[in-house]
């Protein structure tokens, strides 16, 4: 009984981590709570499905649909990242959460209609990436291999992000801006450029989450609102801005949801928010968050 619950929980955690990691990174770097995050997640999913189906329709090798997963995330990031940051977000830096919230909610609403106009209101699905890998049998229950592989993919994303931030020059520039933007500017770092790059990278992560999840979840209207709120829950539980925290939170929520499905099905949807409420009540900065000194 325990094995299937844990496997369900882990694959759910992988999805949750992919939903939340971009949001938490953008908050860490730009201090922006990005309500439009879920829109980029959904756009990634739609783009991946559309590209994958095109590749299939053109008679190209089905394996290309894996490439489409990453390519679509790159496309979404290139299209929306710099545009959003330069045109909308930049004006809100230092103007408090309310202005940011309005701007990102505005973008969320606009992108919601863009999705409907471009991709229609029908649910879309491309299960080529799912069927190509086949199924496997774990403890007597049949799982798609892709679902299991997603856990590995989430771990890969987590560690590459960690390596990028801590081990590369670009990452260190980003971290220095996170740590103290003013000091970074004094040391000659072009913080405006870092902000654009970091936000675009955040959009890429959001879209990648959506595209990697799309073979399992498909894409449908309402997806962005759902993704935004789940990302908020996971990111807040782990500590906004903490990538490792998002991983830990995704594990807790994923396993919690899996157990709830088996033992208290009425509570499965509420689990992320119950955990969020309980954690924030006692640790407002989140599980791995750092307390910031209050500025007088």
């Amino acid at each position: 009984m325990l094995t299937p619950i844990v496997i369900d929980g882990l694959s759910d955690a992988a999805l949750l981590f992919l939903v939340a990691v971009g949001l938490t990174m953008v908050f860490g770097v730009l201090r922006v709570v990005n309500i439009a995050h879920g829109s980029f997640f959904a756009l990634g999913a739609y783009a991946a499905i559309t590209l994958g189906l095109w590749a299939g329709a053109l008679g190209l090798s089905q394996a290309l649909s894996y490439g489409a997963l990453v390519l679509s995330a790159l496309l979404v990031a290139a299209l929306f990242g710099p545009l959003t940051e330069r045109l909308c977000l930049r004006a809100t830096y230092g103007r408090g959460e309310i202005a940011q919230m309005l701007v990102t909610f505005g973008i969320f609403l606009i992108l919601d209609d863009v999705q409907k106009l471009v991709f229609g209101v029908q649910e879309r699905q491309n299960d080529a990436p799912l069927s190509l890998l086949g199924v496997c049998n774990l403890g007597g229950i049949v799982y798609p291999v892709y679902q299991i592989a997603l856990v590995g993919l989430a771990v890969v994303v987590a560690f590459s992000l960690r390596w990028f931030l801590r081990g590369t020059r670009a990452g260190k520039l980003v971290l220095s801006v996170v740590h103290d933007a003013e000091m970074a500017r004094f040391s000659g770092i072009d913080t405006a450029k870092v902000s654009v790059a970091a936000f675009t990278f955040g959009v890429f992560l959001a879209a990648l989450g959506g595209s990697l999840a799309s073979p399992i979840t498909g894409a449908a209207p309402g997806m962005s609102a759902e993704a935004t709120i789940l990302a908020f829950a996971v990111a807040a539980i782990g500590g906004l801005g903490r990538v490792e925290g998002a991983g830990l939170a995704a594990l807790i929520v994923g396993l919690g949801r899996a157990f709830a499905v088996y033992y208290a099905p009425a509570f499965d949807r509420a689990t992320p928010y119950l955990v969020m409420f309980a954690v924030l009540l006692f640790r407002p900065q989140g599980l791995l968050g750092v307390v910031e000194t209050r500025r007088l």
């Binding site: 909610f105 209609d113 829950a233 509420a270």
Partner: protein, 310 residues
């Protein structure tokens, strides 16, 4: 209330009544917009103290569900009783959540409110036997002292708006209301003066929850149905948008904001049904980027220009 401002309010009321008399359809739209305006006023009250609630839909929905339950369990159809039930259930809920949440600030306050409203959303969606699940619950056609009210709901909403706006104006001008701005500026100094900041915020939170419940009950009665979507975070964000659009600086602001939003929504759904969200989003961007003070800030613009010239 100063002379010209009072006159403005009277003119607005006359205009609203004239529009409502001209078409029942417009009076429905106005009723819903003003009801949402009441809830947005509650959000604005928190904004004044520098607190952003991303979960105010909790009280808005609680108002609607409170009224729906009174009708479902006791078969009540009286307008005032339904309204009272909605207001009370939201206020009681606000007293409980407020007691816990006023200790938090900034993004943590926003997130905790969000979490609370989403817990309710998920449970209301799932507990089908108790709440009607995602189908929601119907509300009866209301009666007023046993009679069919006709346009009565609209006039009642208008009365609520005036009573609440007037009462709130007085509250904001009182020492307690002045304290709210002080909390946003520097709450530590306020504590040094011997004022309990959390106590002040608690009262404020309860009032804002009550306003949310009143608005929610009015809107639910007008629409005749409640669904779990009322609890969803996008409802909270819309209330926040209305409050910020109108400007939290004045009592009239949130109503102006909500009237504009509902107007845009109605116009868009008439002429471009696929684009109403985009229209609202553009409103949000325009306000956030160009008129940070909201619509009520536009009223002050000439004065600011004058000052700038001097």
């Amino acid at each position: 209330m100063k002379g010209p401002r009072a006159l403005l309010w009277v003119c607005l009321a006359a205009a609203a009544v004239a529009v409502a008399l001209a078409s029942p359809w417009a009076s429905f739209i106005l009723t819903v917009a003003l009801a949402k305006g009441l809830a947005a006023l509650g959000v604005a009250l928190l904004l004044r103290a520098g607190l952003m609630s991303l979960g105010h839909a909790l009280f808005y929905a609680a108002g609607g569900y409170g009224a729906a339950y009174l009708a479902r369990w006791l078969g009540v159809t009286d307008l005032l009783l339904l309204l009272g039930a909605g207001f009370l259930s939201a206020t009681v809920l606000g007293l409980f959540t407020g007691a816990v949440l006023v200790r938090y600030r900034a993004i943590f306050f926003a997130m905790l409110n969000l979490a609370a409203s989403m817990v309710f959303f998920s449970l209301v969606t799932k507990l089908y036997n108790l709440t009607g699940g995602s189908d929601g619950m119907p509300l009866p056609v209301p009666t007023m002292f046993g009679l069919k009210p006709g346009q009565g709901l609209f006039y009642l909403t208008l009365a609520c708006v005036f009573v609440c706006a007037g009462g709130l104006r007085r509250y904001l001008d009182s020492a307690m209301g002045q304290g709210l701005g002080a909390i946003a500026t520097n709450e530590i100094r306020l504590e040094y003066l011997g004022i309990s900041v959390n106590g002040l915020l608690f009262v404020n939170y309860a009032i804002s929850a009550g306003l949310g419940g009143l608005g929610g009950a009015l809107a639910a009665i007008a629409i005749g149905h409640v669904t779990p979507e009322l609890f969803f975070w996008t409802t909270s964000a819309q209330l926040l948008l209305g409050a910020a659009l109108g400007g939290a600086g004045s009592v009239a602001g949130p109503f102006a904001g909500m009237l504009l939003l509902e107007g845009v929504r109605t116009a868009a759904s008439q002429y471009a049904p696929l684009l109403w969200e985009m229209a609202m989003g553009l409103c949000a961007l325009a306000v956030a980027l160009f008129v940070p003070q909201g619509l009520s800030g536009i009223v002050d613009l000439p004065q600011q220009w004058k000052r700038a010239v001097q």
